[in-house]
Structures are given as structure tokens and as C-alpha cells.
Assembly symmetry: D2
Homo-oligomer: 277 residues x 4
């Protein structure tokens, strides 16, 4: 059911966090311990901000653990803000356009979870997408549709409210069809300056999501790495499951809660409540 | 802009027609001479009837000319009725779900051409798909959408009328948006017993389409092949462009015309006229 | 570290054994319980005999569990003799030419296991391949090299002796380099009429390998399947791990033992002893 | 038969040269005008120096013209020195390990051309590779083998002499087998500081190869691009065929000639003469 991670902080080589740590996201693609499935081998993606206009994007249908290109890219691209995702399909095709992150303009979006009974509500949700945005849809997943619904609901102006409206709308649509437990959602969103992470599920039992406690946590991950010893308190890492066995270094993001990380690294948690439309 | 072929006749190894002939469809993937583009390297597909329930399907995003699997499959699968397609994208993603043939139940569908200004009309066309069918859509092409519109319009009951309604509807939708030359369509459809081929374009200048003249044509293709010398008059081959340089062996299907090949191999041409809805 | 299966018996649709059974090989690609690794997601392959000249071959770098084409092919190809393999690389590239079965003329070859310290002995083993055969090598695995060494050592005349010579040679080469536990090998070989299966490892602790007890075993797998109820006593299935939980239905092939299944379905076990050269 | 390009100069976004120019290398993948084949659709690769240790590498079996990832990477990676290659196979498998550039340590290598009658000489050439290097070979092409022979012959100490020895050795091996016109080679090599380009063929009729005349040439390519107007005289571009129609802006590298570009951008041509071993 997917795993993801996001980094917001000083610029560093992506593999310092994506590949080198113990139980990294790439290791989770083969051996997830907290996910709904141990294997997340149905493609992956990496989106990053840095050199060039807007986010860069690399998505592949190969399992992340075996992708030679990913190792090269992660070892040769520096970024102060990136999101990575490994996918376990809940039924839709394994194709690059179904891999995360999804991209629109400067925005990146990753999702772990699912819309329950998606075939039943897919058409109704699709119709609710702004016609201007609809034409960009290239894949067939619930996740991509969530992203375009959120854009329709104002993601670029007020991301958390847009996500609350979107999930509220999904829950209402599900209710109209008599579907229980409408949505499972651990979501990461960025515009290249700020980062948002949401943990929510209709059933109140969401996929795991953690944020790094502070710079000390990252430093403890790599005492041998002089670069990481330079971490600032403002650096922040968000992960589906802790990327190394460091009790005390991670804060679990609570149920129905959203994390905002601002451009200066300051961050806050607030309740996440789906909004009726 | 794609090339395709279809065979309706006695059972034979697929590579006898798909690979071995001079200027075969696989050669056309690299060197089309009559297509809108010489290269059709954005994936391909093969659908066939024979052993097993309903049609078999093999689609790949590799160029057909380089696909080792295709050579093996074509050399080891016998079929009395198959459709093959090589793709040149007009913009949508290169992914298996965008490759032809498209499949629904016992039906296969291939398309060469395009819906003009597709991003403008895509949403309106999508909304017109039967909600039960909508949920099957996995790709993002105009062609897949045409197929689901045709199914919505009764393809399984009366294929040519369904296609006339579908193309009429596309032309009306285009007209509402002020779009000229709404559609280019060379279409092949089969239910495993019968084969239909349509050549139509709003501008009256359609992609090429040919049908084999009679068994003699095929025999002349391979005088050295004892198997093909056994061809019956009922065997029929339909191609986007002649697969070998045999003047007289091919009938060009006229503009705005549909070919029907029945289960017993008898065939007829009739005018194809888009129907207003 | 790979899992494989082979069928030698009456002709049937490949998916009756490859996909439909509980804990099928495709399920083992995601959830192997007896293999060195639970996940065998680094490509797969299917080789079969039937229609057409020599074996057909379909190999892909996608995980088997997610490959839409494999489901179609297995559901539409009938064969009396086929081998299938799911791969977990021990380091060499994920590419089709590194997937099994390997093919030469009428021969198919699958391997589960590894040559220990392969980089150290690779060159010496490569030099020992017959120069005429050397030019066919397209991949970079220990397994493909084992196949070409076996062909060099007379596989086409006397498969088991050729494999005993090959493994003896590998063990001698390893010894010259001071390498312990030279090889792990569960091997399947066929010429389209007969099937051989070998279980051997230098350390005497080989990968698992099982043969179906008799037709009753297969019938019990699918009491609901009228086709399988027609199985003959001569039908034989060989698997890396039992494809369903049926105690008593499987014979474990013992350590250092080779199984031969003849064209008429008769079979015998005999000791497998590496031969010094 | 492949096309390639190399950039040695100030750091810029790769797509400024790889994608944006008229008749760029990516356009040549679909419409080469000077190559042995118009289509170079059997995979591609990009190697670059910049951030991170040693060269970065992205190789794919997709045609370059359709690869969404390539567009993203080229638009988001800056480099002062990169090589790109589009492939048309002369027979070996389409797989990433057969795509260029090839990489060893800090070295990148691209090749357009072929070793004539490669299957005949492949084994003899393979045996001549240093055993320590042999174990790195993952593909099956003449090009990768040329690279490892050149490394064996001292590429890292004296690249041009190593290439002269390598090609001399290939010509001698071919002569021993009675093979005429042993090799066609347009080669690019870099260690991250310097760039070498060689144009040579046994028959004295080599694949085309051009170097940019001076900074003015590049500026004329993009009068509208303020960044390129900043080009220095030391910037140098090497291409299989001119990337835009600018007579006077390109120097054809003569037959049997090598170009060296030093770290400071100074460059010189000298004769290239295969050395007997």
C-alpha cells in the first residue's frame, strides 16, 4: 500500500537519506515492516526541487530496490526539498503515470492509502475535477484523482483546507453509495518552499506517519557522516515508517492531524477535519 | 500515427503474416511509407482468438521491431483471427494501457488516427461513457475512449451503427467547441467471429486502409510457403498499408466505407455515415 | 534466489498450474516461504513447447505478480511441457537476458541457486565455454554460464552427465581459487520431450525441490476442475516449493539427486555426483 | 548505428543542448539524417559530471524521443561536462547494460559504429580483457568490450594511445580471421576533466563527427537565450551530426583524427593511428 518520505531542510545529496540509512525507503520497498504489505515493488518515484524550473521527476515501473538509475540519480542530485514514494498497487495498472509523486506546475503530491470501493465512486469523483485540470490526468489511480480534486478545491491557495474539502467530498460520495470507511490517506504535498503532511482515515486507524524529532535524530543516524553532523534544527524529515531503529528520534504524527513545515523550517501540527461541501 | 493489420481466415502461425512478409507490420513500425510518420515506435500490441477464453492480448511499450518476446509469441501462437497494432503517440503517455488492441469481454479494438483537439473534448466524451464501462478505463488516449463510447453506443449488438453513432457524437462535440476536422479513424473491431474495418475521417481524407483481394494475393506473397498455398478464398487480410509490393493484390477500402467479414469469410462493403444523436 | 516449476504431461492451459493454484509460482514471486528470500521480483520467464518450432519464450523484467501480459499468455497458451521461473537477483543486472529459462535450439534451462564468489571464477568458467557457443551469451549471470558450460559438456547428448561434469568443473575452479561451497543448484532442463530436474549443492544443503506424487495430487489441487480430474498417472509437476498445502501429495527430491521424466511420462530418481574433468 | 554528443565547457542545464536545439540529439533519435539508419530508437543514455562522486548515469531501453524521465532530468541537472548517446542496435539485445555511456570509475565512454563480424572475434577480444576488469562486463555489445579493452590498454593513463592499441588489436584479430574492414568507430571518452573524441574506421570512411567552431557557433544557435550568450571561447561541443543547420559553425573532424579537449578548454587535433601489439 505504498511508503513515502519527504525531506525539507538544507540541500543534500538525495541518497544520504533515500538509500544510505538503515531501513531506508528503498529497503522498505522490499521489506516494509509497518505497511499493509511487506513488498512495495509496483514502481516508485522521486520528485525534487533545486536546479531548473519547478520540480524534477523520475518515475519508473521497476521495483525501487533494483533500479540502477535511481541509485545514480540519488547519488548525483542535491536538493533541499524532495519527496520519494514506493508503490504497492491496490489494483490499477503498473505504469509510470500511476507512480507518485504526481506533478502539477510547482506542486508535488504523494499518497499512501486508498479510496475504498474506488471503481464505484471513480466516475463521480472524476466529474468533480475542474475541466481545465481534467485534461492533465494521464493515469488511472485513486491517488492521482485525489490530487486533481485537491487542486480543484484550491490546493495552490490553501493546501490543508483544500485537502479537507477533498476528503470531505470523497466521504460524502462514498456515503451516497453506501460505502463504509471511505478513505485511507497519508499524504505529502509541496510547492517547493513548504511541505505539508496529512494523516487521516475515515475509520480512524490510519497508515503510519512520522516526523523527525529534531536535528539530533538525523545526526544520530549517521554519526560517521560529517555532512549530516552539520544539520540544523530546522531540517525536517517525514516518513511512513522510521528509517532506522532510533526510539526517541521520531514523533508519530497523530490520527487526523496535519503537519506544516514553512520555508524557514518552522513547523506546526494541527487537527485535520474533512469539510462537507 | 499508427499502423495496424487484421487476419480473418484459417488458423495459422501469427508470424506468417506479422513478421515474415516483406514490408510486414513490424517493418512498418520502423519504416512506414504511407503513414503520417515513418516511425511507429511508441509501443505495440497483438490480440488474438484461439485457445482459451476470449481474446489473448500482448502489449508492450517497446518498439515492435526490437521486441524479442513478440517474435517468440508470433512464432508459437496459431490463430484464425488476430489484430496487431504499432503505435506512434500523438501526445499521450507511452504505457501499455495506451497500446492497442483495447479489450472488453470478447471484443478487440484498434484505431489509427486521432480525435482532433482531444484535450478540449476529452471531458465531454468521457462523461458520455456508460458509468458501468467507465470504471474499466485504464489509459489516457482518444482511441481507448472511442472504444468505450462505441461500447456505450451498442458495439456488442450492432458494431457499425455503434461506430457511426460514436463518430457522429464526436463530430457534434467538436462542432460545439468550434473544432474543425473532428476525427481521423481507421478502425478494426472483432468479437472473435466477425471482423469489421472502418475508414473514415471528417475531412474526407482518411488514413490508408486495404483489404486483400482474394486468396491468390496471399499465395503470391509466399509462393515458397506450402502452408499459404492452402489458403481459401474466404481468408481475408486487412492492413493499413500493403505488406508487400503486389499491385493488384489489394483493394483500397474507399473513403467513408466499412468492411464486414462474417464468420464464414463472406464479406461486404457499405457506406459509413456518422449518425447524429 | 529464484523459484521455478515445470510441467510434463498432457496438454493444458498454462494458467491452470502457473496462476490458478493456491500458492502458485506467481504467488511465490511475492511470498515465497521456502526460498532464501521471500520476494522474487527481479523478472521472470516462461518457456513452453507446443505449437511452432522449438520452445516459445516470454521473459520480462517486471515482477511476475504484476505482469498483465503473463496472465493473458498463460490463459491462452496450451502446452504439454513448460518451465516457468521467478527471479531474485544475487547481484547481476535485471534484464531480460538474465531471466530464465535460457534457450538454445530445442533446449530450455532454469536454475535456482548461485555460483559462490562468481566474480572470482567468472572468467575461468567463461573461457571453458565452447567458442561456437560463446557467441550466443547475451547476459551476465552465473546461471546462463552454467547452461553454456553444460551445452559444452554434452547436454544435448546426455544431460545428466553433462551437468555432473559442469558442476564438477565449477567445484574444481572454485577450489583452485580457495572458494568454499562452490555451488547451489536446483536445475530444470528440457528438450521438449523429456524433463530433467537436479537438486545439488556443494555444501549438501540444497534449495528445496519437489515432484508431484502422482495424478491424485494434482486432482486434489482442483477437485472443482473437471479438466484436471482427467489427469493421467504419467503427468508430472516439479516445483521449488509445493504450490498448495497438500501433505502427502509431494515427494521432496533428495539431496544430490536427479529426476528424469521420459517422453512417456515414466520417471526415475538417481544420485547426482559431480564429475572431475 | 547510434548518434552521440558531448559537452565540455561552462556548467549549464543539460536540456539547453540535449533537447532544446533544432535537430537535437533527441530529434536525431527519430530522424537522423547522416547516420547509417534514420531511427536510433533502441535505448539511450546520458552520463554527466557535476554534483556527487564520479559521473552520474541514466540509461533506458525506451526510445529517447518518448522518455518522460529524460526530459525531466535534462531540465533539472546542470553539468559542465556530459555525454549523451542514442542507440540503434546492430543485433545485440536492447537492455540497459548495452546502452551507452559505459562507466568505469570516473570514466565515461560512448561509441558509434561497430566491430565487423563481431560474433567471430568476440571471444578472442573478451579473453584479452584484464581479468580484474572482465568481471565488470554486464552487457553483450562490441562497444562495451572496446571500452574494457581500452581500459586494459591503459585508457586511464593515456587515453588516445590506449585507443590506438585497442583498435590496432581489433584489426589484427579481424585479420587473423580473414575479416575485412575490422572496425567503424566514432568514440567519445572523458574522465570528468578532459574530453577525447576519435573518428576512425578501417575502411577510411568513418561515421560523421563534428566539433563546434567556437563560442559564436553556440551563440548563434540560440540568439534568444541570454544564458548561451554568455558562452566562453573555451566551451566545446562534439556531435555525430550538427544539431542545427548552421554552415560555418561546425568543423568536421577529419578521418583518422583525434580531438583532445583539456580541462581549461584548450583543444587540439592529432592523427589517430592504430598501433600493432
Amino acid at each position: 500500500m505504498c511508503r513515502w518520505m519527504a525531506w525539507h531542510g538544507q540541500s543534500l545529496l538525495i541518497d544520504e537519506l533515500l538509500l544510505k540509512p538503515k531501513h531506508s525507503l528503498i529497503d522498505q520497498s522490499l521489506h516494509s515492516t509497518m505497511g499493509a504489505e511487506p513488498t512495495n515493488g509496483d514502481g516508485f518515484g522521486l520528485g525534487w526541487y533545486g536546479t531548473g524550473d519547478g520540480p524534477g521527476l523520475y518515475r519508473s515501473i521497476s521495483p525501487a530496490w533494483a533500479d540502477a538509475n535511481l541509485r545514480h540519480l540519488a547519488g548525483h542530485i542535491e536538493s533541499p526539498l524532495f519527496l520519494a514514494h514506493v508503490r504497492a498497487t491496490s489494483g490499477s495498472a503498473v505504469q509510470e503515470t500511476n507512480c507518485h509523486p504526481h506533478l502539477h506546475g510547482r506542486w508535488l503530491f504523494v499518497h499512501n492509502g486508498l479510496i475504498n470501493a474506488f471503481p464505484t465512486v471513480r466516475r463521480e469523483l472524476t466529474l468533480a475535477v475542474d475541466p481545465e485540470l481534467f485534461t492533465e490526468i494521464q493515469g488511472s489511480t485513486d491517488s492521482e484523482l485525489l490530487f486533481y480534486l485537491a487542486l480543484t478545491n484550491g490546493l495552490e491557495d490553501d493546501p490543508l483546507t483544500a485537502l479537507e474539502r477533498t476528503i470531505g467530498f470523497v466521504e460524502q460520495a462514498a456515503a451516497r453509495h453506501g460505502i463504509d470507511r471511505a478513505i485511507q490517506a497519508s499524504i505529502g504535498v509541496s510547492d517547493g518552499e513548504r511541505l505539508w503532511a496529512v494523516r487521516y482515515s475515515s475509520e480512524g486507524n490510519s497508515r503510519t506517519l512520522f516526523a523527525s524529532a529534531d536535528a539530533h535524530a538525523i545526526k544520530q543516524l549517521h554519526p560517521e557522516n560529517p555532512r549530516l553532523q552539520l544539520l540544523r534544527d530546522e531540517d525536517r524529515l517525514v516518513v511512513s515508517e522510521p528509517i532506522a531503529d532510533l526510539p526517541g528520534a521520531w514523533h508519530e504524527i497523530p490520527e487526523a492531524t496535519a503537519l506544516t513545515v514553512l520555508a524557514d523550517g518552522s513547523h506546526e501540527l494541527r487537527p485535520f477535519r474533512p469539510l462537507a461541501s
